[in-house]
């Protein structure tokens, strides 16, 4: 796994989107290390465009060198729709690069989406690693 650990300030925009998309499902801050980021690259297995939060499952290597099914948590369907994301934006088989906050339990292989890029057509969402809106 190409993991670049760095401190990233939480952004107001994403926090706000999370806040009202979350609708009290759970606290992102309590679930992920918001002061760390991790990057994975792999093949998209499933895109669950739904509430309370959308999820993207990606097959990518973990730091043990083995392939894992990573669960990447995204905004709720309503919040993402407001940002132009639809249930057809991503498709199984897409090769994507995702940067986000790692889950507090490494064994869960989960990430809170901060940035996604699909090289095949240059589609991007969120803020690039290290970028801050503040």
């Amino acid at each position: 796994m190409r993991a670049n650990w760095k401190v990233v300030l939480p952004t107001v925009l994403l926090a706000l989107a999370a806040a009202f998309a979350a609708r009290a499902h759970h606290s992102f801050t309590a679930t992920y290390f918001e002061d760390r980021t991790i990057t994975i690259e792999g093949k998209l297995l499933q895109f669950m465009f739904r509430n309370p939060h959308s999820f993207v499952h990606v097959e990518a290597p973990g730091d043990d060198g083995q392939m894992h099914r990573w669960a990447v948590e995204w905004g709720g369907a309503g919040a993402l729709a407001g940002q132009g994301v639809t249930n057809q934006t991503l498709r199984a088989g897409d090769v994507v690069k995702i940067t986000g906050n790692p889950g507090r339990d490494a064994a869960d292989y989960r990430i809170r989406m901060q940035y996604l890029r699909r090289d095949s057509d240059g589609f991007e969402w969120g803020k690039k690693p290290g970028e801050s809106f503040q």
Partner: protein, 282 residues
């Protein structure tokens, strides 16, 4: 001209003097979050137990709470119950069901945008149902007016949480609400008793403002999916004393964990000197 100004002033005063009579609580109300915003809306780090009169049983439950439990298929779409839902991001609609023959209000109905929950507040003095009937997230509610204060008592509430930090509520919770309207402001007070997890009543009060231009934010659907791959029968938890995140809130804000986790004694003025001493030692 001066006369018209005087007239305007008198008219305004007159209007103000008679403005208080409004007691119709019908309408669409949007929450204000000027208290405990981080806990109520986005959620903060794990371990905010401040201001809740939790007992030792609630502490043990909270110690064991692993936030990933809400990712389980059976947990991921569980709504807040009625004793908690007013603390989240919320807008709700109230309307009256009236008897066409007498125009008496038989019940108030509420539609809560969060989780699309409906409530019925019976105003016809009917008794609460026997204990053996199913409990629901919104419970069974009866109401009565005390002057311009609508007091609602709710039982038969499902177990849930008082905080996402893992402070549990039990199915023996009784909620007493007070609705008080002043103009376009609706004050909502909750007095929660729970013999299983609280040592004394837990008080919450929220403000709602009348929505003057509506909003599309009324729908909430939740689709069950395997959010995070895991054994479908797994129950995420921490063994007592093994929760690595329980002190995150205390550490983030420079507070003594003993105080954050202290329950009712920490909610009264006389605790301030002790808190200051504890903070000095840090």
């Amino acid at each position: 001209m001066r006369a018209l100004v005087l007239c305007g002033a008198l008219a305004a005063a007159f209007a103000a003097a008679s403005a208080h009579a409004q007691i119709d609580i019908s309408g669409e109300w949007a929450g204000k979050y000027h208290e405990d915003f981080d806990d109520r809306v986005p959620g903060d780090v794990q371990g905010d137990f401040t201001g809740v009169p939790m007992n030792d049983a609630a502490r043990r439950f909270a110690e064991s709470w692993d936030v990933t439990r809400v990712n389980l298929l059976e947990h991921q779409c569980q709504p807040y119950n009625v004793a908690h839902i007013f603390r989240g991001p919320m807008q709700f609609r109230i309307w009256a069901e009236k008897d066409p023959a007498t125009q008496s209000i038989i019940a108030y109905r509420e539609y809560l945008g969060t989780y699309q929950q409906y409530r019925t507040i019976w105003m016809d003095n009917r008794p609460h149902p026997p204990e053996y009937v199913p409990h629901t997230n919104m419970g069974f509610s009866t109401g009565e007016w005390h002057g311009d204060i609508l007091t609602v008592t709710t039982t038969h509430i499902k177990k849930e949480f008082y905080r996402r930090s893992g402070i549990p509520s039990s199915d023996r919770t009784t909620l007493v609400e007070h609705y008080i309207r002043h103009g376009n402001l609706l004050s909502h007070v909750m007095i929660i008793t729970d013999p299983v997890y609280l040592t004394e009543p837990y008080l919450n009060s929220e403000e709602f403002v009348l929505m003057d231009r509506g909003n599309q934010n009324w729908l909430y659907n939740c689709e069950y999916v395997m959010e995070v791959p895991m054994d479908k029968n797994k129950v995420p938890y921490y063994l007592p004393g093994m929760n690595p995140f329980i002190e995150d809130y205390a550490k983030k804000f420079g507070l003594p964990f003993e105080a954050v986790f202290g329950g009712a004694p920490t909610m009264y003025p006389e605790y301030q000197p002790k808190l200051e001493q504890l903070m000095k030692r840090r």
